[in-house]
């Protein structure tokens, strides 16, 4: 007697698989509202996707603090922070479109796949209508693409690679943070003014996307001012001891070392370079110099006294004296007891900008939000008059050139502002070669 192919277990398995298959892509299924995760109750849920574990966990913790502060201010709690200085007065401190702001958090782990998984979970399970945060360009590009498919808005956190709003730009994604090109454009004139136009530069570059775009930006900006690039060496992202890369620098005839490194890479390469006494040397009749194109306070803290006198660029700094920065520093400092980092600032501003765009659009519908943000000009958020350019969804604003402070008064007082580079000097055409190869496409409402 032969058994039939149809078994009870087989039926159950097939049923389970089919059920799961139908249930999982909820954001792809049609909704009455016409867009993904349209808020129906009295609350709206935002998804804060930040590194809560891994090497950038401290930066992620600061981002989360900023988001929590933004939610407080949006809901009318606390002192209102930058809502008081923001040029747009659409937000009333009663949530967004009258709905109380709620939030969920995800852990990007600074890994693209983990970041996508946490963003997906917040969209599908928690009903997040917007995803924001992150401390890596790799993560930003990956999550931005996911949000585009899912039909939600992505307001990136700290991401500096040209590609985020260049070849990997997406209609549903927006970046407030500055980028590699802007760092190069802001830094080069300051470097030329301080170190002269006759310099030989040696680049050490982290072997991944952000490293490449930063190297390219700094190289082209400094070469345009007369510097010569002696060598550009890629270093593995996993490298911890850079001695074998730094030791040959002096032999190359270079008199300037440019460290296109971020995070732990930067802390270690700078520490190693200072250990090797590069800064005490004279080459080509000039004092040897080191440059770090992208600074963050947390990195400066990790590198300790080694950052003293070293030039770099940053998106924002808590010592800025405009009304917006002062309001934010006061709110953040009062709540947490220390000043915010640039990562905290960009995340806070992104949350407010999203909320404001929804309020002005009168809808949470992603395409309406995109329309409200494109070409939006604002002020009072800490960087002077700012434009969210429609062509690439990149914010254009002043950029800070900073230097490691010689006599810091506290562990937060590590950088001093050398120059506020005006926005015109860091603005580029949307079709600039460093940003070529991408297109925004059309916005996606998801449903």
């Amino acid at each position: 007697m032969s058994k039939g192919n149809l078994t009870r277990r087989g039926v159950l398995k097939t049923g389970a698989v089919a059920g799961a298959g139908l249930a999982v892509p909820t954001y792809l299924s049609a909704q009455e509202s016409g867009f993904t995760n349209a808020p129906t109750g009295s609350t709206v849920t935002l998804g804060f996707n930040v590194p809560q574990s891994g090497p950038y966990a401290d930066e992620g913790a600061d981002e989360l603090r900023a988001y929590e502060l933004a939610v407080e201010h949006l809901n009318g709690e606390g002192d209102g922070g930058m809502l008081n200085t923001f040029s747009s007065k659409a937000l009333q401190g009663n949530g967004i479109l009258g709905k109380k702001v709620d939030y969920v958090t995800g852990d990007t782990q600074t890994k693209s796949d983990a970041a996508r998984a946490s963003a997906k979970s917040m969209i599908e399970k928690d009903g997040a209508v917007m995803i924001t945060g992150g401390s890596s360009s790799g993560v930003a590009v990956a999550v931005q693409a996911l949000c585009q498919e899912a039909g939600v808005i992505f307001m990136s956190g700290l991401t500096h690679s040209n590609d985020t709003t260049g070849k990997d730009r997406r209609a549903n994604g927006f970046r407030h943070f500055f980028n590699s090109y802007m760092s190069g454009a802001a830094l080069a004139p300051v470097l030329a003014a301080n170190y002269g136009t006759d310099r030989k530069a040696y680049h050490l570059t982290a072997d991944y996307n952000w490293g490449y775009t930063t190297e390219e930006a700094v190289k082209s900006s400094t070469e345009a001012l007369g510097w010569e690039t002696v060598a550009a060496v890629k270093t593995p992202l996993t490298q911890t001891d850079f001695s074998s890369y730094i030791a040959p620098v002096l032999q190359s005839g270079a008199d300037t070392l440019i460290l296109n490194h971020y995070g732990g890479n930067m802390v270690n390469s700078l520490t190693n370079a200072v250990q090797f006494g590069l800064r005490d040397k004279q080459v080509n009749g000039k004092d040897f110099q080191i440059v770090v194109p992208l600074y963050s306070r947390l990195m400066a803290k990790g590198a300790g006294a080694n950052v003293k006198g070293i030039f770099g660029s940053t998106n924002w700094h808590w010592s800025l004296q405009d009304e917006g920065s002062k309001a934010f520093v006061k709110s953040f400092g009062t709540k947490y007891g220390f000043p915010p980092s640039q990562a905290a600032h960009t995340c806070y501003v992104q949350a407010l900008l999203y909320a404001d765009a929804v309020q002005r659009a009168g809808s949470f519908e992603p395409c309406a939000v995109v329309e409200a943000l494109e070409g939006f000009e604002f002020d009072g958020m800490g960087n002077g008059p700012t434009l969210y350019r429609a062509e690439d969804h990149q914010c254009f604003k002043d950029v800070l050139v900073v230097k490691g402070k010689d006599n810091p008064s506290s562990e937060f007082d590590l950088l001093e502002i050398v120059e506020v580079t005006p926005v015109d000097q860091v603005t580029y055409a949307p079709d600039h070669p460093q940003f070529a190869g991408g297109a925004l496409g059309t916005c996606n409402n998801g449903a």
Partner: protein, 343 residues
């Protein structure tokens, strides 16, 4: 020629760290037969002993700075270390400056204690289990330890500088007749290399010239017979685990000025150290040391721009390539003994 000397020097300090970690790994494997994947975490904990002592010595109270305000506009406060109050400002500053070398004294008992607790509390239950079980449990332990460190110290690297007297670099090229600035080498890395040589020498001397060491060596060769002679070999092996933990810890303490320590630094060294052990020959102490220095130097050579230009990416795979070649030609590693891990 100068480039070659430079890379040999660079390889020495990296090789020192590999050799110290691999020495501890081999001690544990040789005595207890345990493949300890938590050994990198012991290196990391050693580094955090230096961070901890540095923080303890720098413990401060706030004093007002007249006429200045903080970022919120309140009267500014400045941290004043208690060490200044107790020893005076000059001596207090010296003590804080020498925190890393002083941490050696702090780390030895702490690391031995952690090693003994680890062995008695967890690892002894896995002696008779397959190596795969040992690897899983020790790897899990390493993750737990690093997460504990991250919880208390954060994920950011913590600067732990060398004493002022050892900052800067030494112009080795000028000393041997090359042009100035062609071969420079940081003073602290020289200290690290010398320190590693002393620790390695001390461990070998301890095993070679003491009765305790003799019994341990006998136990490594034939545990059963030593046991039958009425010697409590388990107790001695537990102490050896503590000693191996101390060696890894000391390697970590002295490494802190080279790279700011973070919770993940142990993992960065662990895999390479295992390769070092395998290349040196499982269970061979001299093999571990030899392979440590050899691979450290080779890794430095592979990072030369001229080499990378010819073979891109070689710097990331050189150690594994060499390991493959050595294991193909000498399956027991450079100095491996017959019968180890071959049952």
């Amino acid at each position: 020629m100068d480039a070659i000397i430079l890379q040999i020097l660079n390889g020495l300090d990296k090789g020192s760290a590999y050799a110290l970690i691999a020495l501890g790994l081999t001690l544990i494997f040789g005595t207890l037969g345990v493949v300890n994947f938590a050994h990198g975490a012991l290196f990391m904990i050693g580094a955090f002993c230096a961070v901890t002592l540095s923080r303890l010595l720098s413990l401060s109270h706030e004093v007002a700075v007249p006429g200045e305000v903080d970022f919120l506009g309140n009267p500014a406060m400045r941290d004043q270390p208690y060490a200044y109050d107790i020893f005076g400002e000059a001596w207090g500053a010296h003590i804080i400056d020498w925190a890393v070398p002083l941490s050696i004294l702090f780390a030895i008992p702490v690391m031995i204690l952690i090693g003994v607790i680890m062995e008695r509390g967890l690892i002894k239950h896995f002696y008779k289990r397959p190596h795969a079980d040992q690897i899983l449990v020790t790897f899990g332990l390493a993750i737990v330890l690093q997460e504990i460190i991250k919880y208390y110290y954060g994920a950011n690297p913590i600067p732990t500088p060398a004493p002022e007297a050892f900052t800067g670099s030494f112009d080795f090229g000028a000393l041997i007749g090359f042009e100035a600035n062609t071969i420079i080498y940081p003073y602290w890395r020289l200290v690290y290399f010398a320190f590693a040589a002393i620790v390695i020498g001390a461990v070998f001397a301890f095993l070679q010239f003491t009765t305790f060491g003799m019994v341990v060596r006998a136990g490594m060769a034939d545990r059963e017979t030593v046991g039958l002679l009425g010697i409590n070999i388990d107790k001695r092996f537990t102490i050896m685990f503590g000693l191996a933990a101390a060696v890894a810890g000391l390697a970590g303490v002295m490494y802190t000025p080279i790279n700011s320590p973070n919770y993940h630094m142990g993992m960065d060294f662990l895999v390479l150290s295992f390769v070092v052990v395998v290349v040196g020959g499982m269970g061979s102490l001299p093999g571990a040391v030899l392979a440590g220095f050899l691979l450290g130097i080779l890794e430095s050579f592979a990072s030369m721009r001229e080499v990378i230009n010819i073979i891109p990416g070689i710097n990331q795979v050189i150690i594994y390539l060499v390991a493959i070649v050595i294991l193909l030609t000498r399956p027991r590693g450079l100095m491996g003994r017959k019968g180890v891990m071959e049952d």
